[in-house]
Amino acid sequence: MTTGVLVGEGVTCHNLIKDYGAGDARVRALRGVDVEIAAGELTLLVGPSGCGKTTLISILAGTLEPTNGEVTVLGKDLTRLTKREKGAFRAQNVGFVFQQFNLLPSLTAAENVAVPLVINGYSKASAIVQAGQVLKLMGLGDRMNSLPSQLSGGQQQRVAIARALVHKPRLLVCDEPTSAIDARTGHAIMTLIREVALQPDRVTVVVTHDQRVFEFADRIITLEDGRVAGDRSVEARVEQTHSGLKIESSTL
C-alpha cells in the first residue's frame, strides 16, 4: 500500500472511519481506511456504488469531517484545522472536477475559470487574464466568452478542469469526471487530466466506476464496503494521446 513517497508531499489516511446518521439510523461509510497517495501519479479510486469512494474523496479534499482516524494532506492534519482554516486550505491547495461540471451558468467560461483566483484574492481583471491563458491551453481559446449552456459536455468539462487547475493546486480531486459525457469525450478528458494535470508535485485522485478509463491510471485503489479491498499499480499504461490535443502542460 505504501508508495514510498514522503508524507508531506501526498495524502495519508490512517484508520479512517466515517459514520452518517446516529443511533439505529447510523450508517458506516468508511470502516478504517488506511491509504497513502503520492504526488506525481494518477490514482483512481474505484469500487461499486456505496463503497465509500465519494466519502473518502470528500474527506481528502477537506469538505467532510471524518468520524475518526487521521488524515494528512500535503503535510496538514485536516482533523486539526478549523472550518475556516479548512476553507482557506481548499482555496489554496485543492482543485475540484465534478461529475456534473458544476459551472456557474450565468458566468462565461473565462469567468468560471477565474473564480478560484478571485477566491484567493486576485482582482477580477487579473483573474480573467490568467483564466484566458489556461483556457487557451485547453483548446478553448475561442470559447472564453461562451456561457456553459453554449458549450458541449466535453467543452464544459474542459472548462471545469481549467477551473480546477488555474490556481495551481497541489491536490486535484476529480469526481466521476467522465460519467456525464460520452466515451470518446471521456477518453479525451482523461487524456487531458493525464497530460495537463499530472505534475510531479501534485496529488491527483480520480473517483470513477468507468472501467474504460482505468488504462490512464498509475495506481488503482479499490474500495468495497468502506474498506480498501485492492491496491495495485498499473504497469502497462497506455501512453498514447487519445484526444489529439496539443497541450503544453508545463505551466499548470
Partner: protein
C-alpha cells in the same frame, strides 16, 4: 465577489424579475397607502394652512381640532392685542352655513369670516374676481371645488347669487383652496357680514389670529398669550398637529390605512422572501461549489446580502417612482384624491423595503451556511 453575486442574480431573468416585482409591489403598496394616509391627514388641516401670514391661533382652551368650534368672547381679541409681543390680532369666524341656490337647492358650506378692515386670513390664489371686492355689500368668495359643486358644468364667473339665512350673498370671486376634509364648499366673507349669514347666537367668534412682533419667538409669545388670557394659543404648526392628532386618535383612519400598509409589508415579505429563498435553493449547487472551492461563509453571506440589497434597491426605486407617477396622474384626473408624499414616507418605505430584503435573505443565508460543501460531489445538493 460582487460581480459573481450580481451575475448569479441576473442570470435567471425570470426569477430576478419576480423578486423585483415582489419588492416593487410591496414598496408601491406601502408608499401609496402611506401617501393617501398623509393626504387625508393633511386635509384635516387645510383651512389652517390656507390662512397665511398668521403666527398664532388663539381659541377656547378645550378646542381639540379645527372643526371643534367653541366660541370665545368678542373682547378676547382686545385682550390678545394687549399681550406684549403681539404685533396685531384679528377676529376670525369659522362655522357652518347653509346656502339656498337659485334653483331652490340647499347646500351646506363652511363659512369663514375674516377681519373687515385688513382681510387678514383671506385666500391668496384668486382664480376669478378681486379680493378687494369682498369689501362690497353682501360679497362672498367661493372656492373652486365648491363653485363646481354648486354650479356644476358652469364656467367660473362672478355675479352668482346665493341666499344664506335669508340674506342675499353675491359671489365676487373664486379662489383655489386646499381640498377640505368634508368636501363642502368654502365661502369667505367679512366678519361683519358673516354674522348675517348664520342664525343669531350670543357668541360667534371661535378664533383670534395673531402676529408676533419681529424677532420674537412664536412659541414664547403664544405661551404668554395663554398665560395672560387663559385661552389656548398655538402656533400654526401646533394647531395643525393638534388637529391631526385628534383625527389619529378618534377616527378609524390610522387603523384602516395602517392595516393596508402592514398588509403591503407582509405581502412584500412573503413574495420577495419566497422568491428569493427559492432562488437561493435553486442555486444551492452553485453556492455549494463555491463553498467547496474554499469561499468563506462571510463572502457567501456577503454575496446573498448583495443580491438581496440590489433587488431591494431596484424594487424600492420602482415602487416609489410608480407611486409618484400615480400621485401626479391621479391628482390631475381626480382632484378629490387625497395624496401627499412627504420625505418621511419615502424614507419609511426605504426602511420597510430594507427590512423586507434582510428578512428575505435570512432564510437563504441560513440555508447556505448549513450547506455541507461535500454535498456537491456527485450532484448531491438537494
Amino acid at each position: 465577489m460582487t460581480w459573481i453575486a450580481l451575475k448569479m442574480l441576473t442570470g435567471d431573468r425570470g426569477k430576478y424579475f419576480a423578486i423585483i416585482f415582489g419588492i416593487t409591489f410591496a414598496s408601491l403598496l406601502i408608499t401609496e397607502q402611506s401617501g393617501i394616509f398623509c393626504g387625508v391627514m393633511l386635509r384635516t388641516t387645510s383651512q389652517i394652512r390656507d390662512i397665511e401670514g398668521v403666527d398664532i391661533w388663539v381659541m377656547n382652551p378645550n378646542v381639540r381640532y379645527m372643526d371643534d368650534l367653541k366660541a370665545i368672547s368678542d373682547d378676547d381679541v382686545f385682550r390678545v392685542r394687549s399681550v406684549p409681543g403681539v404685533a396685531w390680532a384679528v377676529s376670525l369666524y369659522r362655522g357652518s352655513g347653509q346656502a339656498q341656490l337659485a334653483n331652490g337647492d340647499y347646500q351646506s358650506l363652511i363659512l369663514i369670516g375674516i377681519d373687515d378692515s385688513t382681510l387678514v386670513g383671506a385666500p391668496t390664489k384668486m382664480l376669478v374676481g378681486k379680493l378687494g371686492d369682498l369689501q362690497n355689500a353682501d360679497a362672498v368668495i367661493v372656492d373652486e371645488a365648491g363653485y363646481r359643486q354648486m354650479w356644476p358644468g358652469e364656467p367660473l364667473r362672478t355675479g352668482k347669487v346665493i341666499e344664506m339665512n335669508d340674506c342675499r350673498a353675491v359671489v365676487v370671486g373664486v379662489f383655489r383652496a386646499s381640498q377640505t376634509w368634508m368636501t363642502m364648499p368654502v365661502v369667505y366673507t367679512r366678519f361683519s357680514q358673516a354674522v348675517f349669514f348664520v342664525p343669531a347666537v350670543r357668541r360667534l367668534m371661535p378664533f383670534v389670529l395673531a402676529k408676533c412682533k419681529p424677532g420674537l419667538s412664536v412659541p414664547g409669545v403664544a405661551r404668554r398669550i395663554g398665560a395672560q388670557t387663559g385661552l389656548q394659543a398655538l402656533s400654526k404648526q401646533e394647531f395643525m398637529n393638534l388637529t391631526m392628532m385628534y383625527y389619529l386618535k378618534h377616527t378609524g383612519i390610522p387603523i384602516n390605512i395602517g392595516t393596508t400598509v402592514l398588509l403591503g409589508f407582509f405581502v412584500g415579505c412573503a413574495i420577495a422572501g419566497q422568491t428569493f429563498y427559492l432562488f437561493t435553493v435553486e442555486n444551492l449547487k452553485q453556492f455549494g461549489t463555491l463553498k467547496a472551492m474554499g469561499m468563506s461563509d462571510r463572502r457567501l453571506v456577503g454575496m446573498i446580502l448583495t443580491q438581496a440589497l440590489l433587488v431591494g434597491a431596484i424594487g424600492y426605486g420602482l415602487g416609489v417612482g410608480l407611486t409618484t407617477i400615480y400621485g401626479i396622474v391621479a391628482q390631475r384626473g381626480m382632484p378629490l384624491l387625497a395624496f401627499f408624499l412627504p420625505w418621511q414616507v419615502v424614507a419609511g418605505t426605504g426602511v420597510a423595503v430594507l427590512l423586507i430584503s434582510l428578512i428575505s435573505s435570512v432564510l437563504s443565508i441560513h440555508r447556505v451556511l448549513v450547506l455541507e460543501p461535500a454535498m456537491v460531489f456527485q450532484g448531491g445538493v438537494a
